[in-house]
């Protein structure tokens, strides 16, 4: 009996990223609907080449959809990082203008303005530094997440291309199973970090 082709982690990952996309694929490939729900061992065991290729084709469809969803998530993460930087600038400007405005509102004289202005400027500098540090940490986490997701999408895309080529060229089930395993393992790694990457 040839090795079983697994796609459980790809299905789980797509379920996290876009449950309705998974449901659509389950409708398109009804033979695997039970396995999506109950896990990798729920399907029939002894399978001929046709069934194995069908499994790999389904894994390919899952990989395609996962790549699309991960790319979408990467784009959302990048735009979130950019908007964080501009919001930091806006907060700093508002804080500075607010400080000057407050001094004017209290009707302080020019000399007082110089003295108090020094204090306010220092406060604004502290505020800016704090904001900068916070947003750097936040944006660097977001940026790291975006890089991770981008790498995953790229990696899965390459593996998917390899798998497509193996299926089209009628290569051995062992080779197809190995390529599918790599896709599934990459999905497993992402599933294991799903909270860190905020996939759910």
């Amino acid at each position: 009996m040839s090795r079983r082709i697994l796609f459980n982690e790809l299905a789980t990952l797509l379920g996290h990223l876009n449950p309705s996309a998974l449901a659509r694929l389950a409708t398109e490939f009804p033979a695997f609907a039970a396995e999506i729900e109950r896990g990798p061992d729920a399907g029939p065991a002894e399978e001929d080449r046709k069934h194995q290729v069908d499994r790999a084709t389904f894994a390919l469809a899952l990989s395609d959809q996962v790549v699309t969803e991960v790319r979408k998530l990467t784009e959302r993460t990048i735009s979130r990082t950019a908007s964080l930087s501009s919001s930091k600038l806006a907060v700093a400007l508002i804080a500075g203008l607010g400080g000057v405005g407050t001094l004017g509102a209290f009707g302080l004289g020019k000399e007082d303005v110089v003295r108090v202005g020094g204090v306010v400027t220092s406060a604004i500098a502290v505020l800016n530094a704090a904001l900068d540090a916070l947003s750097k940490r936040y944006t660097s986490a977001e940026a790291a997440k975006a890089i991770d997701l981008s790498n995953a999408a790229l990696g899965l895309s390459n593996l998917r291309n390899e798998l497509t080529s193996l299926i089209k060229n009628g290569r051995s089930i062992e080779e197809i199973a190995n390529a599918t395993d790599k896709c599934n393992e990459l999905a497993l790694q992402l599933n294991a970090r799903k909270e860190q990457l905020r996939l759910v």
């Binding site: 789980t12 109950r38 896990g39 061992d41 729920a42 065991a45 002894e46 497993l188 294991a192």
Partner: protein, 465 residues
Amino acid sequence: MTARNSTLYSIAMSTRSWLLVSLLILCLLQTFEASAQRGRVYRPPTRPVQPIERDIYRVPTTPLRDEALGASPRAPTSFGTRFNPEGSKRAEFWRVATSSFGGATTKLGDAYILLRVFEQGVVATTNFVQAGANDAPVLILKHEEVADASDMSAALKSLLGTETPVESTRLKLVFDRDPALPEFSALFSKEDQSFLIPTNSFAHADLYLKDKSLVYSIDRIDRPNPPPRWAAKLNDCCVKTGVPPDLDGWAKLGSVPFNRGKAQLVSLFSDSQATDKFGSLPRASHIRGPLELKGDALQAIEALIKSGDPGSPVIIVGHTENSGFRVERPGGEHVSFEALTQIAIAADRPVFFVGCYTADHFHSMAGKSYIRDYIVSGTLNTLHPREIAPKILEAMNSSSSMREFTEKLSDESLNVWISNNFLRSVAEGTARTVRAPIYKRTNDGRTSIVGFLFVYLPCKLFGGC
């Protein structure tokens, strides 16, 4: 104002008093409930033999046999037809049978077939009264006739008017002596744990053994290869054992503690959804999936087992391969049951292995009676991680005894079988290891072994070594 304050004060005082009284009542109720739980006698799904049921043994079987030779099968009377002539021994047997085990009925669903097995033969009758009849046939059969499928079918047709009783028709087997005795070996195979009587028409049976005070509830298990296994129920659902069951051992297993607060889990299932099901267990004291294993798998498991409380159990779950667990991670390893058991022995901790089976491994380990219980070949991992993981978590979190843990692993779809040999050794305090198969009903309606529960119990759990 003062009057209003006084009213409010008295209302508050009275409310406080009532609250205190309610609290006291609640505490007392909880105390009574707890003591009632402790003192409650365990009731297995067997029941005591009712005095009236013993009447069946009072009807002698020998005259029946003699009478059978000249008996008229169906005699018309003014009120209908009679199978057993009035005043005959067979009429007396039918009267006693229907008063002992349940009255006559015209509904097949309420009917039972009674087989009273004695040394020289079997008396068969039923409480089902066919249309136009006043009673039911009382047949006298030889042992070899009962063991013959076509003879038995003919007998059933004679009793019920059909060869196929409905699912709820119950079989009542009354043995005049121990079924393990040689004269009964033609009717029950201890090795196959099966009645040699064709019992395919029945799903359940009540077993009466002479001089035993309990009626055993037994179920038919349609294993992949015939004949069907007959199993005695140890609880309402779904732990089973051989016939007749050792209930003392089962009761004693209830007193072997399971320290749920300090139990630790090692899951070697790679499926991330299975890992997620164990998500409520803290990562510091459990291994919820193989990706959480750092370095060498066996060393990581050993470190975990050594770090825990010596009396508390370790539960290791995963897919099996060649007498061990497969560690499902890139470059996967194999950890043998033997090595894991040695670690548990060294740490003086009870250990439970729960795994799927691989045919090769179990075929080499299984006794003859179990060989028929496996799916023939080619099926992988029929104990699904996502199916067993929630049961393990529930059993870990809520069991206070080894028996409870076993019970909570099982349900209507997954039955656990514990051998009578193990139960006997539990009763004697000598039990150390048990390999309990896990049965599952498959799509074709058959029930086959899909996994196993292996348990190692340190002797200290039985009160001394």
